[in-house]
Each structure stands twice: as C-alpha cells, then as structure tokens.
Symmetry: C2
Subunit: 511 residues, 2 copies
C-alpha cells in the first residue's frame, strides 16, 4: 500500500494544488473581510439580508475549499516530505492543516447557518443595545451558544466545548490554563485595586472633562495615526459604534472607531488600540501576502500589539508629553491649563466602571473575568441568556463594586457574543500580559523605550516588534514568538510587576 | 440513448443544482460588485495589488462555477422540460444558458488574467488622466484590445470580434444595427445642430456660472435623491472622479459622483443620471433577489433609465421649476436673480464641447459616434493605441468642431476602455432612444408627465416604469420590454422627433 501511495504522489502537482488552494482562500477571505468589516460602517439598513446571505455563501465556499478530501490528501503528502518544500511552504502546510482540522468535522451547512445567524444577530444586537432591550437579543444569544456547543461537539466530542473555543482563539490554552492565569492576575489586582481605592493620594481624573468638537477629534485621530507610524497609504479610517480593525490585505487595513463629544480620551485610546492591530496586519512579511500565513498568529498576540500601543506606550508617563502636544494642537483653548502630568493622571485614574472598552488598565482584567465566568456558565448549561443580566449585575458588584443601571451599559455593551465569539475575551487579558513581557525583553535588549515615547519617535519600538513579532505572521505560534523574543517561556509576572509598579507610584502606595 | 438520458435525469436534483448555482453566483457577484465598486471610492493606494488579485480569483471562481460541465448538462435538461418549472426558473435557465454560452469557450485563466489586467489598467488610467500622460496608458489599451479580440475569437471564431461585444452588451445588436441606428440619428442631429448654431436666437447658458460650495452641492444631491424617489435605506452615496452605479444587491445600491466648485449643474445631472440606474436596480421584483434575473436586462435598457431621469425628466422645462427651488434652497444668494426659464436655458444650450459626460442632449450622440468609430478601427487593426489621440482630435474637429487641447480632455476622459468595455458606449445613445420611445408610450397611456415633473412628484412616472420595465429585471430581453411597453418594436423616430421638437423650440427654428 505504501508503495502504491508513493507511486500516486506527485510533489510538483501537490505544490500546485497548495498554491491554488491558497489563492482561493485569499480571495474568499478578502471578500469576507471587506464585506464584513465595511458592513457596519457604510452599508444602508436594507443591505443586511443580502449581505448575510452573501457572507454565508462565501464562508461555505471557504469551508468547502479547505475541507475538500483531495486537499486533505495533498496536505498529508506534503507534510510527509518537508525536505522537498521551502520553509514558507512547510509553515503553510502546518497552518492549513490546523485550520482544516478545525473545520473538517463541522458540516458545511451548519457553518453557513452559523454565519447567517450571527450576521442577523449583530443587527439585532445593535438595535437592542441602543434600545436597552435585552429580551430581543436573548433568543439569539441562546441560539448562538447552542450552535457553538454543537459545533464544538462535532469537532471533538470528548472535549469540553468551551475548551475547544479557548484553544481555537489561542492555540494551547484551555480553562485550566486560564484559571491559573486569572488566579495570578486576581491575586495581584484585587489587593492592589483595594489599596489604590483606600489611598488618600489619588490621581485626579477630572482635568480632561468637557466637550470636544467631534470633527476636531477625527483630525487628532489622524495625527495619532501618524505618530503611531501606520502606513496611511494602506489604511482606511471609518466610524462605527464599537471600534475594530479589519484587513482584507496588508495593503488595505481598515480601522474604525467612535468619537464622543464629552470624552476626548475615548477615541484617543481606541485609535491607539486599533492602530496596534493595524501595525501588526500591515507589517507581516510581504512574502506571506497571499498565503494563510498573512495576519496575526493568534487573538492573544494581536491584543498584545493593540494593548501595547494603547497602554504601554499610550498611557505611559513618557508619552504624556507628545500626547499633550497633539491634544493642544486641536483644542488649544480648552487645554491651556492642563499639564502633561495632569493628562497622565486623567488617563490612569483606576476607577471601577461599567464599560470594558473605557476601563483603565488596572480594572480591565476584572471586566474580562466577569465575561470569562459567564461564558463558562452559558456553556455548562448552568445559565441561559435570560440569567445573564442578573449574573452580570452580581459579578460587577462583587468584583468592581459598581451597580449596573441597564443592559446597554451591561451585557449589551460588546458585539462579541452577537458574532459568536466565545472564548475570545480571555485573550484580551492574556494579550496585556504578553505585551508586558515583550516590553521587558525589548528594554533588556537596549531599546530606549521611555525616550522613544517622550520623543514620539516610536521607530525603535516598531523595529523591535517588527523583527520579533510582526514579520512572522502566522509562521510562528504565539508560544514560539514569546520564547524566541524573550528568551524564556510565557510568564505573567511581567504583567503583574508592571501593574504593581505603575499603580503604586500613581497612588503613592507603601512599597 | 434518449431513454438512458431520461433515466439519468432527475428533475428535483436538477432544480436543487440550479438553486445552488444561483446562490454561488449571487455571493461571488456580490463580492465582485462591492469590492470593485468601493475600490475606486475608499481603498487606499496600496490596496490595488491585493484587490486585483482577489477580484481575479473571484472572477475565476464565477466562471468556473458557470462553466462546470455538470452545470451545462443540468441547464440542458431543465431547458428540455419547461413544463416542470415555474416561470421564474424557466427565465433563470434561459439567462444562465446565455451567460454560460458567453463564457464557456474562454479559458478560465484568460478571463482571470483579463480581470487582473483591467484592474491594473484602471489605476494606470487614473494617474494618466490626472497627468495628461497618454503614453503610460497606451500599452495597456493595446493589451486590452488584443485580449478582447482573443476572447471574442474564442467565443465565436466566425464572427467579427467587435460584433461579439456589441451583442454582449445589447442582445441582438451588431455593427449593421448600430450603423443604421447612427445613420438615422446623424441624419437628424447634424442638420439640427447646424441650424441651432446658425440661429440668431440662442438660449444663453451663462446664467448659472460661478463658484458653488462643494459641501452644499452634496446636500443638494441628497435632496435630488429624495425627489427622484430613491430608497435611501438601500443606498450608499460616494465620491469619485468618474460617476457610476454599483449594486451588490437591490438592498445595497452604490452611487458615486463628483462635485466641481465651478459647475453646479455637473453634479446635479450626474446624480439624476446615476439615480436612474439605481432606481432600476432597487426596483427589480424581489422574487428575483438572489437569482441571475436581478439587475437590469441590458446596458441599453439601463442607460434608458439613467438618461430618462437625467434628460427627459431632469432637463425638461416642466422640471426646471422644482429644480430651481432645490438650487435656491442651498444657494439662495447666488440664484436670486436666475429664473426657472433661465435655468432651463442653461441646462439645454447645445454647445459642441470636449467632455462626453458634460455634453448636452443634442451633441451627446456625436461623442458616442466618435468612440464607436475608434473602437471599430482598434478592433479591425486599422489603428493602435498610439493613433488614438490623433484620431480623437480629427473626429472631434469633424463632428463637433472643437479642438482637443490634451488627452485629459480627450481620449483619457472615460474609464470604459481601461475596464475593457468595448461595445458599451453605443448603448448610451441607444438608451436615449429607448427612453424617448418609453416616454411617448407612457404619455399615450395617460401619465401626466409634465405635471409630474412640474410638481416634483415623480410617483406616476416611477409607477409606469416599475410596471413596464424595472420589475422584470433580466426576465425579459430589451426588445420584449419595448414591444410590451410600447405596443410596437423599437423605433428611433421618437428620439429624433423629441430632439427636433425640443431644440427647434429652444433655438426658435422655422418648422
């Protein structure tokens, strides 16, 4: 039999089949990304039905292309002869095999129905959020959880369904991993937050209050995009309710954000955050451009980049000087009596609040913890969508000490569940921890991090991240990237040390 | 053999295969239309390479789906058993068979290369037009003509290649048809234009000259869209150099136009023109929504709708009153001394000029004639791209009496050739003639056309076009639509009568 198979194999034909598959996947992913990303920004209301049908069909075509039995055979044969392939093609075979394995057991129709369901649910969620109407969204949430559990069971009936999705967003991570990770973070953040709240010396956060013209905020956003170092020849900036980044290609990255008249810093940090995602997408090695190796390697590593520029750079004391100058340029009258240090205080006042995307660095992981726990309950069947508003209120009171006034400011605030993204939230907290470890390694390697921030010349920071993270795309797994970049495996201690140091100083805590 | 085939056929499975094909084509056409339409409006410069690759692959997938030999067998079997199918499915089989026949002889790779070539050529054309640089575009034009001839030869080696494309844009039309049509139009327009130019009483066209704020022009555009009766819940308005209409679905129609500070009427009539296309796309029977019957039946019938709203409505004396009111709303100071009748004169001064899209109704078909003749020369090999600027200058001097100062205002003004659209221009003139005949039938059926225009309540006009043209989508061919709507076959006499009557009155010509 082995001889017969060897006789049937034809490496050149297999490589051609691989290249053909990659072109097909590139074009379908391009269409899915552009149509999906722009949908919430520019499409008129009546576009929804046609768009969801089109996305479902394109997704079906993508799954069919990857699940084709011939493709499985080609990938198996190529995986058995790595010596015949370039490093790039070997990486493609590895990533495509993983992508295929994740799909091949889910019936194509089920996947297409799921895409259609979440496309509808996103519209329902949008209206529900604006009308504070949980009841209209709840049936969709239950249907999405049921669909996600059914899909996980098709993939691996032996495994806990939530573990399947945790692993999907971050290869190698499951509940056991995240339980440990969150325990360490909790051990640090809960007492630290308590100390901060009890401190008589708190950084005031009111300096920046007031109204800021929305169009000037967008002009400021364009300046921040330049400072961050994005390639504006490969960028489209849109306006939407919930900020996000999309990228049909490295030459066409879409970032969308919101500007609130009464909160100028919201858009500032959303732009820096989405800009970090966009830098990653734009800077993957061009040789991977039309392959499955394009884009970021995992959700956690993507969030590491976005939160790196939002927090480690954006909310640093060193960066408060150039950020203050950028704000002064667009709002000179309003800010003439605010100093850079007061701006730094405004950005970094740790204040338990309701909205995840507006949270400070210290309370942020607690927002994630609430979602992580509720997702577990929904997947275990201990809760249904009807229970979520109550659970949400209880957990926000317990961990953050705040009362949730309505679902618009509660469980309806994020789009993720409407999109079917369960197991995604935990990667946000993990990304922060990746980022802190990457920053420590960057500084250890000689990069003048604070100097770069103070000069608003982020080129040395970008160069290090480009070399160690961005250029690899999906050719390396996150654990490989961390280990090669930092010289040791992942450890959350850099994150907890960073938070302790920063917030102890801000709140004048005893050492 | 007949018995064997009958035994193999399974009508239910064939219908399922038809529906599956339609869903695949819908999603691919949706992606091609959205990515293609938005490309020139929102994409950043570096998006071009990735977009052209993605479009080429999606086009390849579309052609492969339609050219699949199994699809050919399914269509043949279904065409043989019309009694088993609904009217809609019979129409789908007829249209799909024609679409398939047009493609099946062209190798998929050649089609994909062509899409890529024209996508690149469009970018080159854009830069060439802005830099008045014919030389940079010329090699692309020669390559596109060669590709188009090669494709025509693959489709029908016996037939003149230009005839193949004329028929493609307007089923049933070839050079013989258009030679006769243009001869009749020429016989009317050339002496009529000469009489107008010689008349001592000319409508002055200078009343509207001056500068008009561009943002106010876009606010005016939105009012015109409302007056025209477009469904703004299914519309996206963009800004681009060369106006166009796209439509991923009837619920998502894209119109793009330009506003020039020194020419307020340019955007007015571009919006009315593209709005006519958009009305057609939005108002096809919803039952055809996700089938090949959606959208307009031909280029000529599409242009009939756009030029109907641009000229027969927009440039009518009756409509000058509400159009004047709309202009007054946005530019009150500037227009306080212009009367509706002076506006009507400004819109309808017949003046031989350089730019097709800015041409008046009377000279317009002469612009088309120039392009029709040059396309014939390029296809016959009597000319190459290098000859085009000279030919263009000669023909504009001969037919329109104008000197062409540069290629930006000459052969680089239109995007069509860069897109590979040869044989398309003639449908513009044919569309005007369709429109005049449809208007005559509408009035004969009792619609108070002038009253509707004067009241800016175009509902009766839309209702008649909806009933007789729009709702049919591609389920009827243009000749069928004209005959059913007008009670007689197509005749250009309504068009020449209309032009004669209108311009004789404007120029006080002897009867």
């Amino acid at each position: 039999m082995a001889e017969v198979n060897a006789a049937l194999s034809n490496p050149r034909a297999d490589i051609e089949a691989l290249d053909m598959l990659e072109r097909t996947l590139f074009s379908l992913n391009y269409a899915l990304d552009e149509i999906g990303s722009l949908g919430s920004i520019i499409d008129p209301p009546k576009a929804t039905a046609g768009r969801s049908e089109a996305l479902a069909e394109l997704e079906r075509a993508r799954v069919l292309a990857l699940c084709d039995p011939d493709v499985g055979d080609v990938l198996k044969r190529l995986a058995a002869t790595p010596e015949l392939l370039s490093d790039v093609r070997n990486a493609q075979v590895r990533v495509l095999t993983r992508d295929r394995d994740a799909l091949v057991r889910i019936p194509a129709e089920e996947q297409a129905e799921f895409t259609k369901l979440t496309c509808e649910a996103e519209e329902v969620w949008r209206r529900a959020k604006s009308a504070n109407d949980w009841a209209s969204f709840a049936p969709y949430l239950d249907r999405i959880v049921a669909a996600r559990k059914s899909m996980a069971a098709s993939r691996d009936p032996e495994r806990d369904p939530y573990d399947v999705w945790l692993d999907d967003y971050e290869p190698g991570c499951d509940r056991a991993f995240y339980d440990r990770f969150f325990a360490q973070v909790k051990d640090c953040v809960v007492p630290l937050l308590a100390d901060c709240m009890a401190s008589p010396s708190k950084p005031k956060h009111t300096y920046m209050e007031g109204d800021y013209d929305v169009e000037r905020q967008w002009a400021l956003a364009r300046d921040l995009i330049d400072i961050e170092g994005l390639d504006t020849q490969a960028l489209w900036l849109g306006r939407t309710e919930h900020p996000f980044t999309g990228g049909p290609s490295s030459g066409f990255v879409i970032i969308a954000s919101h500007a609130y008249e009464n909160d100028v810093l919201s858009n500032v940090f959303s732009i820096l955050h989405e800009g970090g995602h966009a830098l990653y997408e734009q800077n993957v090695d061009p040789v991977y451009r039309m392959t499955s190796l394009k884009g970021g390697t995992s959700m956690g590593m993507h969030e590491a980049q976005s939160r790196f520029f939002e927090n480690l750079v954006g909310r640093s004391e060193a960066f408060s000087e150039p950020l203050h100058a950028a704000l002064m340029k667009h709002f000179p009258g309003r800010l003439s009596r605010v100093t850079p240090r007061q701006l730094y205080f405004s950005e970094n006042s740790a204040e338990p609040g309701l909205i995840r995307t507006e949270a400070d660095e210290l309370t942020y992981p607690l927002h994630i913890l609430v979602r992580y726990e509720i997702e577990q309950l929904l997947f275990s069947g201990e809760a249904t969508a009807a229970d979520v508003p109550r659970l949400w209120a209880e957990k926000y009171r317990a961990y953050l000490g705040v009362s949730v006034p309505d679902d618009t400011h509660g469980a309806l605030q994020d789009t993720h569940w409407a999109c079917g993204d369960f197991g995604y939230f935990p990667t946000y907290a993990l990304g922060s921890a990746y980022g802190a470890q990457l920053k420590a390694a960057m500084v250890a390697s000689g990069v003048d991090f604070d100097g770069a921030c103070a000069r608003a010349d982020l080129a040395p920071i970008r160069a290090w991240l480009h070399e160690n993270v961005w250029r690899w795309g999906r050719a390396k797994d996150p654990a490989e990237i961390i280990e090669a970049a930092c010289g040791e495996p992942f450890s959350p201690v850099y994150y907890t040390d960073y938070l302790t140091e920063k917030f102890s100083a801000l709140y004048w805590l005893e050492a």
